[in-house]
């Protein structure tokens, strides 16, 4: 039995230690906002925050999470930057199919947490790991800038 801290709540899970955090969230804790896309850290749809850093949860076993706090898309709205990013996403009408957007929002929030006023190259670097198959990049970029403007 392992104990995880997710979105501020403690969860006991009875799963093997080598199970990736992604599948513990989705199949065992019913936190399905974090998505499966590729399983090899290429697409970014599984991005969560662990110890305040963005990570691909398909590659992080729960044995390696340890005592670090996990924040998922279901909890990111409780953080100041997360709420601003979610609001900016809605105001810019970013989503098309929407499947990648949880991961995009987690990456964008982590960017603003570390760099409140990112320029275009900062955005490129922080968001390069998140594929959007629908091609919403123009609106993602705009939404990040709008969220940053509200932070100022």
């Amino acid at each position: 039995m392992l104990t995880l801290t997710i979105n501020g709540l403690s969860h006991d899970v009875d799963v093997p230690e080598d199970m990736p955090l992604l599948w513990v969230l989705r199949d065992h804790l019913n936190l399905v906002g974090t998505k499966y896309g590729c399983g090899i850290a290429q697409c970014g749809v599984c991005t969560v925050h662990v110890g305040g850093k963005p990570v691909r949860s398909c590659q992080l076993t729960i044995g390696d999470v340890g005592t670090r706090a996990v924040v998922t898309i279901e909890g990111i709205g409780s953080t100041p930057n997360g709420a601003k990013v979610q609001q900016a996403w809605m105001e810019a009408a970013v989503p098309q199919c929407g499947y990648c957007q949880a991961g995009q929002i987690m990456s964008a929030t982590a960017l603003l947490d570390s760099n409140p006023q990112p320029d275009d190259s900062d955005i490129d670097a922080a968001m390069a790991g998140n594929i959007c198959r629908c091609g919403t990049y123009i609106r993602i970029r705009r939404a990040i800038k709008n969220a940053a403007a509200k932070s100022a």
């Binding site: 998505k35 090899i40 199919c97 499947y99 198959r133 629908c134 990049y137 123009i138």
Partner: protein
């Protein structure tokens, strides 16, 4: 069942027939546990519930016992699309799948406009699948909007007529003196007004108008259509709520993988069943014979496990001995060699023949020849294929992220050995379609597996499964010869199209030359023929099928011809599309191809892009146009190319005439998204096949465009008209690639005749 209690049901054949159909559909709700009902509530009320809610009212409704907890019994269903609550909240049911094209928002806007509803108090819900009630419920070919346009407007207008009739009765005034706005009816002369919510109970008892008698709004009367909207599900999307097929979780659910032969058509001889069953978390493993149809169930091995990860881990240990006697041995490298050899001769039998191309070539001022080639492509939407299926009580209940739920019903019924009426399909949001989910193979597989599992089961494909078992955009090869007459006009077009066949008779799915190109290349002397190579790998519709690559070849070659003519490309295109060649006019009257509309988008695109301006060295401005999915579209790209073939995209301009725009923000998003997708595809996407096996296994080998390479601006302009609207999912895709190639030529003098550009050494600069 007291369906005769209501004058609504008695009075109108149109909707009462629909209502009876809704009620006759078996729903699982009579047999499910409370836990499952809770899911229904989360997923939105079913169609049966809403209609019963209208018919029977509180007491009788409760006695009936169906979907009790999903419907507020005080709500009034006006028809299968609209339910009005006493607090004036209006629930509108979207009948087609939301795949990212924004249909759930647009359908709501269309209905709400005719209803004169207050959009701020409209709640959009997904309708369940019942084609007998709703008609077509697919999402493909950009047809959801044009097919539903009249039906949705009639639903809104009809409900409004009933509300007005109720108010007229209560106020004893003439209905013509009552006006509707923002979900409130007003009788100005007496100063009376009432909300839709307060009138709904009375309105539901009013006669249902004949849809043919309804007076629909003209374009100048729209209040909601054409404005900018946020996606109705965006609050749920950005907060990670349960929406997609992959998100379905049911009590007692188990998880499945399915492994098919990596070479299409192979069968299971045996597999290491004992070893697989002994894997951690595995509950069962068995072979499935399937139906042998690619669009249904091909042979494979199912592994059932307690969670997805355990199923995936066991799949990694799976060793199958395949019978390869009927399996594909296709090779894309061989196809390319065969096609280039075939291209040197022209077949005797022509598919299209106008005038005399040989005579034109003999008399031409100039002739041009060129060979174009593009590769197979995979769809790979980000949500991998999945379906949750529960076989119980003789009913196959399913949650399917599909583009074509209605067409899935009979196939699933066939696989399960039950009548299509015994298949109950719930619509989920779809994490990307692009044509992949027009095929319901994964849903059929889930049905076959569910019949061997005594629990709800979620079939989850891996990303590797998705790459290996797609219905691919077919490659294609075009040998062109064109002639320019002494006046610099297009005089002849000869095309040898080398494509693929699965059955040896006709083109494979998605491998036919599109009619769109037949209408839009108007050469007075024209000859087209095809040669078909046999193919085992399944192909299918890929965003803007056919057009998505054929327009690249045709409109790049048109640019070559314009250069040979010595005339301006834009003037050459406009002259050519306006040629009077009666043999090439659409035979089908429903086809809306218009040289005038084509001319207008080309002219406006040139103007917006600054056509004719002086550009720096190694910079270029290129343009192309297409008629696709009933839309007329022109695209222009300004870019620069350095000596290392690094392309810096400046600006992209898209001009579309798709009739009236429903949701301006959504339409701009589709124009930008389709252009970005087209850029991504032209630059980098290619599927290689060797010995029948797909070589690319995941996104690391299939470079979908990423943020650093995305254009900074894509400016979309719309020429709006009273022509019927068409969808926005596809029209903005096909002309982007030829515009890109034409602008690279303008910048460098190098012609792009083969995709993807990555294979020619080009890359997008950061």
């Amino acid at each position: 069942m007291a369906d005769t209690q209501s004058s609504f049901a008695r009075s109108d054949a149109y909707l009462s027939a629909l209502i009876r159909e809704v009620r006759s559909v078996p729903t699982a709700s009579a047999t499910v546990t409370m836990g499952r009902r809770t899911f229904f509530k989360l997923a939105g009320a079913g169609a049966a519930g809403l209609v019963l809610g209208f018919h029977l009212g509180g007491a009788a409704f409760a006695a009936d016992g169906a979907n009790v907890d999903t419907v507020d019994s005080k709500d009034q269903a006006m028809n299968a699309f609209i339910r009005i609550a006493p607090d004036n909240t209006i629930t509108i049911y979207s009948k087609c799948p939301e795949i990212g094209q924004g249909i759930k928002t647009s359908f709501g806007v269309i209905i709400a406009d005719e209803l004169d509803a207050d959009w701020n108090h409209v709640v959009m819900e997904q309708a369940d699948i019942n084609p007998k009630v709703y008609g077509s419920q697919g999402a493909g070919g950009s047809t959801s909007i044009p097919h539903a346009w009249d039906q949705l407007r009639q639903a809104g207008a009809g409900a409004k007529v009933m509300l007005i009739a109720a108010a007229a009765g209560q106020w004893a005034v003439d209905s013509s003196q009552i006006t509707a706005r923002d979900s409130i009816l007003t009788h100005a002369a007496s100063g009376r007004s009432a909300t839709y919510g307060s009138l709904a109970a009375a309105a539901a008892k009013m006669p249902v108008p004949d849809p043919r008698d309804l007076k629909l709004k003209t374009r100048t009367e729209y209040r909601l259509i054409g404005k900018r909207y946020r996606g109705v599900d965006d609050p749920k999307v950005v907060s990670g709520q349960q929406l997609f097929g992959i998100d379905v979780q049911l009590p007692g659910m188990v998880y499945a993988t399915y492994t098919k032969c990596p070479a299409a058509g192979g069968k299971v001889k045996s597999f290491n069943v004992d070893e697989i069953k002994a894997q951690r978390g595995v509950l069962d493993a068995f072979a499935v014979d399937g139906t042998g149809m690619m669009v249904e169930v091909m042979p494979g091995v199912a592994i059932i496990a307690r969670d997805t990860w355990s199923a995936f881990q066991a799949k990694n240990k799976l060793q199958v001995d395949w019978d390869l006697s009927k399996a594909s041995t296709d090779s894309t490298s061989q196809f390319s060699v065969q096609a280039s050899k075939l291209a040197t001769s022209f077949p005797q039998k022509a598919d299209d023949k106008v005038g005399d191309v040989d005579k034109s070539f003999a008399n031409a001022a100039k002739t041009v020849e060129a060979y174009y080639e593009y590769p197979f492509a995979a769809h790979v939407p980000l949500e991998p294929m999945n379906t949750t299926a529960y076989w119980h009580d003789g009913v196959m209940e399913m949650w399917v992220p599909t583009q074509q739920p209605d067409r899935g019903l009979p196939l699933i019924g066939k696989v399960a050995g039950i009548a299509p009426e015994k298949v109950v399909m719930h619509q989920t949001r779809v994490g990307g379609g692009f044509g992949r989910r027009l095929v319901n193979d994964y849903a059929c597989e889930a049905a076959a597996i569910a019949q061997k599992v005594n629990a709800p089961v979620k079939l989850q494909w891996t990303r590797e499964d998705d790459f290996a078992h797609d219905f691919y955009r077919p490659a294609g090869y075009h040998q062109f010869k064109g002639a320019i007459d002494k006046n610099g006009r297009l005089d002849a077009w000869r095309e040898h199209f080398i494509t693929f066949t699965a059955d040896g008779k006709k083109e494979a799915s998605g491998a036919n030359l599109t009619d769109n190109l037949r209408y839009s290349i108007k050469a007075p002397n024209l000859r087209r023929a095809k040669t078909m190579l046999p193919l085992r790998i399944p192909t299918g519709a890929w965003r803007a099928p056919g057009d998505n690559a054929q327009v690249f070849a045709a409109q790049s070659f048109m640019h070559e011809l314009s250069l040979a003519s010595g005339r301006d490309h834009v003037e050459f295109l406009i002259d050519a599309v306006n040629r009077d060649v009666p043999e090439l006019a659409p035979k089908d009257k429903s086809v809306n191809f218009s040289p005038k509309r084509a001319t207008d988008v080309i002219r406006m695109c040139a103007e917006k892009a600054g056509w004719g301006k002086t550009l720096p060295k190694r910079s270029g401005l290129g343009l192309a146009w297409c008629y696709s999915h009933a839309g007329h579209v022109a695209q222009a790209i300004e870019l620069s190319v350095d000596t290392n073939k690094q392309i810096k995209i400046g600006r992209i301009v898209v001009v579309l005439d798709v009739g009236p725009i429903i949701d301006m923000a959504g339409s701009e998003a589709q124009a930008q998204g389709a252009s970005t997708d087209a850029l991504s595809t032209a630059m980098g996407l290619k599927i290689n096949i060797e010995n029948g096996r797909i070589q690319e296994q995941n996104y690391n080998a299939y470079p979908i465009l990423r943020m650093p390479f995305a254009p900074m601006t894509i400016d979309a302009y719309f020429i709006q008209s009273d022509n019927p609207p068409t969808g926005m999912g596809e029209p903005a895709f096909p002309a982007l690639a030829p515009a890109l190639g034409n602008s690279i030529f303008a910048a460098t003098g190098e012609r792009v005749r083969r995709l993807p550009l990555r294979d020619l050494g080009y890359a997008l600069a950061v």
